[in-house]
Every structure is written in structure tokens, then in C-alpha cells.
Symmetry: C2
Subunit: 213 residues, 2 copies
DNA sequence: AACTATTTGTGAATAAATTCACGACATTTT
DNA sequence: AAAATGTCGTGAATTTATTCACAAATAGTT
């Protein structure tokens, strides 16, 4: 894989760049400098240029970057032409929020089915996405490789095991638990309570500037 | 502020450690080694020891760490004795998920009020938390310093400005926008679409191990 | 055509975070 | 009481990420 040389920190910013570039195109802008983009995405302009440079010379000195060209380039790099199908596990408030969120706009990912342990929900649809009972997981999952996990804490471990058994290799985990998965499965954690606490900690211990009158 | 010397990466892990230590206590464990904790939180044991060491010598050689002592220490360090009040802006599915989430269990943060632009929702409660109309923001906010932003993209900028005007200094931002705030306001972004895309990108470009039969 | 203003791409410097590896000490076992 | 084992705390090495700063090139201007 040639893209092994791209730093992880850079890779994480790519989707962000992509979205803001899409916005710019929609606004009719055909050119952008690293400085302008920097102000929009709040990433240092040198970092942006460095990030882009891992993919070669995408810009032009004295001019900046051509929005259309950059978008085309990243569309390929981010595989935006092929849709990645995603399953959502746990149709509570958080899960429902995801289903309503229109991921496919500006995106290459789409939630195509959801599961819940509540028999009441099974059989219904949200935004056209079918909800199955969790017992049907093995039957319905097919060759989906990515799952969003928004179940309550108690069910986490057993569901995770079943997902892995069915061939899931990527999990976006919103539960507070740390998942036990084989090493070939990638898990990204988004821990809402931790994020909130960390923010509060930073506010108290890392004041940015003395607030002025 | 003496804790200026603690690396940010360490600070972000503290709430995580705290939660897992609480779990251990609940399980009746009175002692834990960095190796055991490492397996639970999925952080390298050397990193854990390094993190703890910024606060002094909290453990005992040949023994490990005393769970109770560690918890007591972090309770003070993380200001777990004082409750930080938080306002939530935008009572959609995502916002509702937060309100149902019991942040105060094992936590020092509490959502004490919510706002929404939907007049229907104003006046009601979720989990005992009052929901006000967004027009009442200035009137009701009081001296709350932290806000969770879960509004649709269109309202983001104007709401942010009003929050800052009212003295908010920390924002947990779930909208896709990058906020324009004075430099003394700390914003943490959680960008759901970006997280999902980044996961997909890593799966394709950074395979962890060839999946074995 | 000459001049000025921009802006990239990157080598080098710096900063931040992780990981190695081991001496020192405490605990446990025999 | 001695030996064996376990575990911390940390100096040093390494890795990863960011930022500086400037030559080179282009674009725009007069």
C-alpha cells in the first residue's frame, strides 16, 4: 500500500479538507490558498501545505490550489467513488441521530441497515433504512465491514463478538467500553463522557488567555 | 497553574483512567498494576506509568497501585468534588441522547438546561432537565461556562456568537462547522461524518494485519 | 517587459508523545 | 533470612507531528 507513508494525523484531516473544499466549490470559488483554507478549517496553513505535499505538488506557487482539481484528487484518494456500506447497532436516541444524519451527502459512507434488541422497533424504517432485530444480525449483515456501535453498555461485549465473527473489520464505538477485538479489527472510540470531562479539565487547568473585560 | 506541565495527551486520558478505576473498585479490586490497567483501557503500560508519574509517585514498586488511593487522588485532580454545569443547545436526536445519558454518574458534569428553536419543545422536560426556547438563552443561561452544541448547521454561527457573548468559555461542538470564537474560548470538535470517513480511510489504506483464515 | 506581490513546497528546527529498557525497591515464596 | 519475582519510575531513544522560514516559481500590475 503506497499510502503507508501518509502520517495518521494527516489522514484524519483529509475528510475535513474534503468537506470544506466542497463548500468552497458550492460557493463558486475556483481557487483557494492554504491561508484561506486554514482560516476555514482552523488548521495551521503550514500544516495544510505539508499535508497536501504528501500527495505530490497539488498547488501552484503564487496562485494557490485549484478547488476543482483538489476535489477531484481527493475524491480518488478518499475513495469517494465507491460507497462503503455501514451497519448501525443500537437504535436509541444516538443511533436514531445517525440514521437521520445524511451521511451520503458529501460522503462515501451510508448506513444501510440497523439492528436493535427491542422487538417493537424491528420491522420499521427510519429514513428508509430498515431496522432488524438483533437476533437477525448473522442473517442480514452480509458482507458489510463497518459498524457503528451505539448500544447500551451491557450488551457491548456480546454484540462485538458477533460482529467480529461476521467479518466486521472496523467499528466506530460510542459505548464507554473498550472493546476486545482481534488485532486486525480497527476500533475508533468516541467517548462522549470522556470528551466532556476532558473539555472541563482543560478549561480549569489550561486557561487560554486571561479573559479581558 | 502548576498542572501546566502535564501533556495534553495525558490530560485527555485522565477521565478514562478514572472511569476504569471506578469500575475496578466496584468489582472489589483494591490493587492494580499498570499492566492490568493497560489491558482494560487499551493504552500501553509504559504510557500509563508515564502519565501517572507526572503527578508524582503514586504507586509502589513490586505491588502496583492502590485503587482507592488512586481514585482519591484523581478525584481531587479532576475536580470531581465540584459539579460543572453544562447547557445543551439543540434538542434533536443527538441532543436528546445526551440528556438521557446519565453524565453525573461517575462524573462531575451535569446538563442543567437545554435550548431549542422549536416552540413545541419549549416548556417541557427530559430527564428532569428543563428545555427553554432559544430566545430565552440570554435570560436563562446564568453563569454557565460550558455548552454542548448539537444544533443543525444553519444556526451554528449565530448561536455560537450569542453563547460567547453570554460568557461561555468551553464548547463541545457536534456540528460540522468550525466555530469562529475569541481565542480565550476552547472548542472541542466531534465531527461524526469525519470520524466515520477517517475510519473507512484507515481500513482501506492502513490494513492492520492480513486477515487470516 | 520589468517589477512587485503571492504562495507553494520543503529542509531544518522544534515540539510533543510514545516506547524501550533497566535500576531500585517491595512483596512473596521457600 | 535468603532468593525469586513483580512492578514502578524514569533517563534516554525513538517516533510522530508541527512549525519556521525561505528559495523558487507564478500571477498580477504598471
Amino acid at each position: 500500500m503506497e499510502s503507508n507513508k501518509i502520517p495518521q494525523a494527516t489522514a484524519k484531516r483529509l475528510p475535513l479538507y474534503y468537506r470544506f473544499l466542497s463548500n468552497l466549490r458550492q460557493q463558486g470559488k475556483s481557487r483557494v490558498s492554504s491561508k484561506e483554507l486554514s482560516e476555514a478549517v482552523k488548521v495551521d496553513s503550514a500544516t495544510i501545505r505539508r499535508d497536501f505535499s504528501y500527495f505530490g505538488a497539488l498547488g501552484k506557487k503564487g496562485y494557490g490550489y485549484n478547488v476543482e482539481y483538489l476535489l477531484g484528487f481527493f475524491r480518488k484518494t478518499l475513495d469517494h467513488d465507491e460507497l462503503t456500506e455501514v451497519a448501525l447497532i443500537g437504535v436509541g436516541n444516538l443511533g436514531t441521530a445517525f440514521m437521520n444524519y445524511n451521511f451520503t451527502k458529501n460522503n462515501n459512507t451510508k448506513i444501510v441497515m440497523a439492528f436493535d434488541s427491542d422487538a417493537e422497533k424491528a420491522g420499521s424504517h427510519i429514513e428508509g433504512i430498515p431496522i432488524y432485530h438483533i437476533d437477525e444480525l448473522e442473517e442480514k449483515l452480509g458482507d458489510i465491514k463497518v459498524a457503528i456501535l451505539t448500544v447500551p453498555g451491557t450488551e457491548t461485549d456480546s454484540v462485538t463478538e458477533r460482529l467480529v465473527d461476521q467479518g466486521i473489520t472496523g467499528i466506530l464505538n460510542f459505548t464507554p467500553a473498550r472493546l476486545n477485538v482481534p488485532e486486525y479489527v480497527r476500533v475508533h472510540h468516541i467517548d462522549l463522557a470522556v470528551e466532556l470531562q476532558a473539555l472541563v479539565y482543560f478549561l480549569k487547568h489550561y486557561p487560554l488567555v486571561a479573559e479581558e473585560s
